[in-house]
Amino acid sequence: MHIAKLRSKNRKLVLLLGLGMAVHVSLSSPLLCQTPAFSVNPGKMELEVNPGTEKTAAFEITAASAPVPERGRIMVSQTDWSILEDGSLTFKQPGSSQEPSASSWITFSPSAFTLESAQTQLVRITVTVPQKTPPGVYRTGLFVQERPSATPPEAGLRVINVRVRYVFLLYVIVPPVSSHAELVNLEADTSNGPPQLICEMKNTGNRHARPLVFWSIRRDGVAETESRGKVEATVLLPDATMREAYSLQQLSLAPGRYQASVFVDFQDGKPQQSMSRDFEVLAPASPALKPSVEELVHP
């Protein structure tokens, strides 16, 4: 009788421990529904590859750690990309544009995987440059994003959803390449809203340039410089012209005449190029005077 009682007690204890273990495991296991915040490192890469050869590189996708573990499915997909004349970035379907694309030369793995909090996933890319490829810079990119929900939209719902993706940009450089970048023009635009400097730069070479723009503003008749700054311009692609605008909104320039000067370092080992322009900031138009009540009554 006594032994039977003890056995029953033991059974209860084991059951209790088992239950405790199960609760612990369920609480510490990752949530299935929430993808962790993640980052792509590096965001861009330049690979020099000779025609007829291949090279392998990799980038990392790192999930942020979180107090409550998270887990989600990540997809990697290919894209072409380009920079428009105003410096804005645009993406296109691989092979859909006439621009030099390396999309057909790359293979990457994995294209889908599960990412958990604090985990890092390596994505390997192999670039195979075909024989007799002309020298130049060829571009491709990889989008990294959470897998879209497979659930169809609820009936009766009129909704616009939002999703986020990150991009890894790859430059495949087939040597020999060199950039021939120049500062073509400088404009100070005060016609539409806050003043802005517009730098026109041109690259006739077959390698991209990464211009650093140093600017200064000086008021007419005043010896010292009013303000100065530095901007990392958007990449100047081969055989491209770019007219990028830099806002001077933060300066709150008083009405008057000014001189804008820019020095551009194309980071190509050549001397900096400079240009200056005069411009005028006009006084804001005073609001049209409304006739007073008295005037309305007694015109």
Binding site: R158, V159, V162, V164, L169
Partner: protein, 228 residues
């Protein structure tokens, strides 16, 4: 019972062991190194992954020149480098891409051109760990012309889709840059409450006598380095 106590004792020893091992005194020299990666983050206002509704229109009850403007979506941008933000709409169901529905004698269904999109609130740069941000921010985050609707959506007077400065038609099937700026975060991580820009994007449409039906679409935001 005895077995149980042995089991518990063994568990206790196993639990303590790593501490004992790590606490052993060691001498020697070490080096340290690492990389601070260029990192961009788009998160919701709880610092979680952003996968939500940009706008839920619900029932579009037809009125008189009254736009339907669902609650805009606010989200957080963090970066340790200059950034470019692009947008693209796709995955359309029950809605096609096309110019706004105008005056016509043929029946019309809702199209991407009937839904306006833009930043409905000025970018919040007030974070104390935002580069050139804070109480009196001097940083400039450039919103592409047409996407700034902080002054309000256009007024409607004809009962037809008003002249939205940008619609989903403008970002259909092709990424379009909508905003750019310098480095955002001076320090902090993805849980910090002071190192991000808060960006608010909304959509609007005019309920009209268009062909009845449900619709949905997805706007994808892509963030990339500004210099690329």
């Amino acid at each position: 019972m005895k077995r149980m106590s042995i089991l518990l004792s063994a568990s206790a020893v196993l639990a303590i062991l790593p501490g004992i091992v790590l606490a052993q005194g060691t001498t020697g020299t070490g080096t340290f190194g690492g990389t601070v990666p260029t990192t961009f983050s788009i998160a919701n206002t709880s610092n979680g992954s952003l996968a939500a509704a940009l706008g839920t229109f619900g029932t579009l009850t037809i009125g008189k020149n009254v736009l339907s403007t669902p609650t805009p979506l606010a989200f957080r941008l963090r970066s340790n480098a200059g950034y470019k933000l692009t947008a693209q709409v796709g995955s359309l169901v029950g809605i096609t891409d096309g110019a706004p529905s105008g005056v016509s004698t043929t029946l019309q269904a809702i199209k991407t051109g009937d839904i306006g999109i833009g930043f409905t609130t000025a970018v919040d740069r007030s974070g104390l760990s935002v580069v050139n941000g804070g109480a009196s921010p001097t940083r400039t985050d450039s919103v592409v012309t047409g996407f700034d609707v902080t002054a309000g959506w256009p007024s409607v007077s004809t009962g037809h889709t008003p002249a939205f400065t940008k619609t989903l038609h403008d970002i259909f099937a092709a990424d379009t840059q909508i905003m750019s700026g310098d480095r955002i975060s001076a320090s902090g991580d993805n849980s910090s409450s002071d190192n991000f820009l808060t960006v608010t994007v909304g959509v609007a449409t005019l309920p009209q006598y268009l062909t009845p039906g449900d619709f949905s679409g997805t706007v994808t935001f892509t963030i990339a380095a500004s210099g690329t």
